[in-house]
């Protein structure tokens, strides 16, 4: 008698737990919240061929890296609202480098990889307007809404700088300099990017081909 009571309650328990689990499975299947892990490939390494890309510019044109064969190409990841970017534009540092680049037949590509709905994402017209306001004159602005170019280069921060030589070889990847927030008394910033660009232009080896970039994260996702 006693055992029967026991076994009935065990059955009831099993039935109940089975129903609960069934409901959980149904809910999980509906919610389907398993997101695929990002397939993160190897980052491009200075000395290797720079990853090719085709992207839409702010003027609606399409440009590819291969269009600029024979010319030195600079990739500058940017986000106009990122304080680190703002600092280098307000000081005139980046616009100055861009003007120098244009004079020396260097193709300067500003890249905006912020996905729609995140900081720094702008329309083509707005990107051009922003550059006009800031006295900035890159050769093109790439509106990389799908972040494909950003992911191909493993661009991490704004600013994040790359120099590609006329043969399509990546020569520099890293920060614009080594001082995220210079203060009085700090040593003068080492201008890793500007130095690398000058060395590539002069046909020399780049002395420091890779550095740790600093800045805001490139807005690949909505939630941090």
């Amino acid at each position: 008698m006693k055992t029967q009571t026991l076994s009935i309650s065990r059955r009831a328990l099993m039935t109940a737990s089975a129903l609960v689990a069934a409901a959980a499975i149904g809910a999980a299947a509906l919610a389907g919240n398993a997101r695929a892990q990002e397939p993160t490939g190897e980052p491009p390494i200075p000395g290797d061929a720079a990853p090719g890309f085709t992207a839409t510019t702010a003027t609606g044109d399409t440009v590819s890296l291969s269009d600029f064969e024979g010319q030195t190409v600079v990739l500058e990841w940017t986000n106009h609202d990122c304080p680190f970017v703002v600092r280098h534009y307000d000081s005139g540092y980046i616009p100055g480098l861009q003007a120098d680049a244009a004079e020396n037949d260097v193709v300067w590509l500003q890249v905006i990889s912020s996905i729609p709905g995140t900081q720094g994402h702008v329309s083509g017209e707005r990107a051009i307007e922003l550059n006009d306001e800031r006295g900035s004159a890159p050769a093109h602005v790439l509106i990389d809404e799908t972040s494909d170019v950003g992911r191909a280069y493993h661009a991490a921060t704004t600013p994040h700088m790359y120099v590609i030589d006329g043969e399509g070889v990546l020569r520099y990847a890293g920060g614009i300099d080594d001082q995220p927030r210079p203060r009085e008394g700090d040593p003068a910033p080492v201008e890793h990017f500007a130095d690398a660009l000058a060395q590539v232009q002069a046909g020399e080896d780049v002395s420091v081909p890779e550095t740790q970039p600093y800045g805001c994260s490139v807005k690949y996702t909505e939630h941090s």
Partner: protein, 715 residues
Amino acid sequence: MISRFIAAAAAALFLSLPASAQTLQGEMMVDASLVSDRASVAPGETFHLGLHQDIEPGWHTYWRNPGDSGEATRIFLDLPEGWSEAEIIWPAPRPYNLGPLTNYGYSGEVTLPVPVTVPADAQPGTVTITGEATWLVCEDICIPEEDTFEITIEVGESAPDAQGEALIQAARASAPEVVEDARSGLRVEEGRLILTVNGDFLVPDAVRGLYFFPFEGGVLDHNAEQPYTIEAGEARLDTRPGFLTRSGVNEVRAGALAFETSEGGDWTRRVVELRPDADEAVNELAAPAAGAGGSGPGASAGEGGAGQAAGGMGFLQAAFLALVGGLILNLMPCVFPVLSMKAVNLVNKRGADRAHARELGLIFGAGVIATFLALGGLVLVLRAFGGMESWGFQLQEPAVVAGLAALMFLIGLNFLGVFEIGTSLQGVGGNVKSDGRWGSFLTGVLAVFVAAPCLAPFMTGALTFALTQPAYVSLVIFAFLGIGLALPFVLVSFFPQALNVLPKPGPWMERFKQVLAFPMFATGIWLVFVLGMQTGAMGVAWLLITLLAISFAIWAVRIPGRAWKVVGAVGAVLALGAFISTVRLDTVAVAAENGEYEAWSPERVAELRAEGRPVFVDFTAAWCVTCQVNKLGALADSRVRRTFAENDVALLRADFTNRDPVIAETLASYGAPGVPFYLMYPADGGEPEILPPLLTESIMTRAVNSAISTQGPAV
């Protein structure tokens, strides 16, 4: 190209920057203060001043190595003459995963202590120490903040400051500890960065979640997984090198090894400082298997919930649920009697036969899993060739909805015992000779097919889920369903006594089956509702007549006698006729709603927003039934449409019926697993609001109102 003067000017500008336009002016995301562990210090004593950061929820500040982006906090103390300070003692950080990027830092509250030494000849009295600190605080956006501090300390008899001491002691306790017997090496082998560690603290079953935080950037790829192996006193962790180590480790790259350690069942976090010998290995452990013991940036667990779960979490969860689902299938009335009979058969073997029984158990399991994998593969093939998409597209078709409703109704009747099916199939299973290996395998295969009537409801869920996942995820889900189904049987073949624990087949199973009928009917009601949305009251009426005719036909066929069979056949014809009438109804209602919507593209969103219009985006798919319910319900509601029109809301529709990488990426970027997904972009250019998956008239009206108000959504 830039003079020192410009740098200084830039710095001044930078520091005077207003907070980002998207943040309230003047509101700091970090409430910082300077604390001391001593209220009064003795000459010659070393004490600690600490920067205490109380960080806004959802935001984080950075560790000494901020990771892929960010900026380490800096502290500047203006100490009296003769006083000296050492480096910040950094509490161990947490990883923050931002898609392809990983940062190291703190959320909630953190204290950064700085050791300060009082000179031996310090004169008693009161000293005031001023300090300044700068830090970057980020959520989706980043704000550079800074503040100045002042703290008063007595010089004389040493006395603690209770509050400051608690904060500083906690911070020092969570900083990486130096363990005397720890030895480590760091080297690069075949493109992998390998950290080997020896130390008594490495106890295989009591240590888990090893994760190495290097003190500087560039030592390793912050976003890469760090799979590890561990044995008594030894561990090895493999990851991807950073730019500093890619061509070899040529200097000591120190860092913090974080892990969880178990004492009496409780897992606590422990962090050990490592100064690995350059280009050395301190043990001979083999490389960890891919994925085994892996700890991704988000997986190094612990209290505080600092790290955003990496993508793999949901995947593991899904696999686990699939396993549980497979286990439940064992209880299904169409599976359980067959399996328990065979299990009893296996258990009754003795002696040498026991080993044979175990083998047969495993082969049976292999059969089940292979069948599930084959089913999974079939789904993937169908998906790859677009067959699945066109199947999915049919869900918008009333025929499919009505058919599914009829099927749910039939399954429900079956569960209630109105009629039986599948007994002949089960007979086939019985005929296979279960002693042979091949027979066991076939029994496994058959178990899946025999279970089919009961599997159907679960498989629908798994199929839907698998459709939205990459191939390997789908296959793993299917494999786990199989493992779950096979597990009890395999266990019984190894541990015959387990049979005593399993419930005996009996009347309870009938009751269990009957209970399951009601979810089936509920699903049927939902489908009838969907059909009602598509075809109106006529469709509902015809579908209900179909169900009536079906039940009549089944009732008649079950009665002995030829005449009743004829009556049943008439019923079946009636059911078919009613079904055809249901299906033939016009579905104009569905098509008519597309008119007001334009096709979505990120460019179009940008253009419309540039015009200053609020934008509503409906991410939808034909195979998504909830989407259709919203489309024909809340979105078709005349009040909602009037609100849209009155406020000049631009309406865009992103159709995810077919695979579309742009839509997929956009959905993923918002963390949405799929459709339905709704975004309302405010008119003033702020962040879009994510609306709930099931829309109502009031949700829509409120969303439009907040999109046109200048404030944007209150996020």
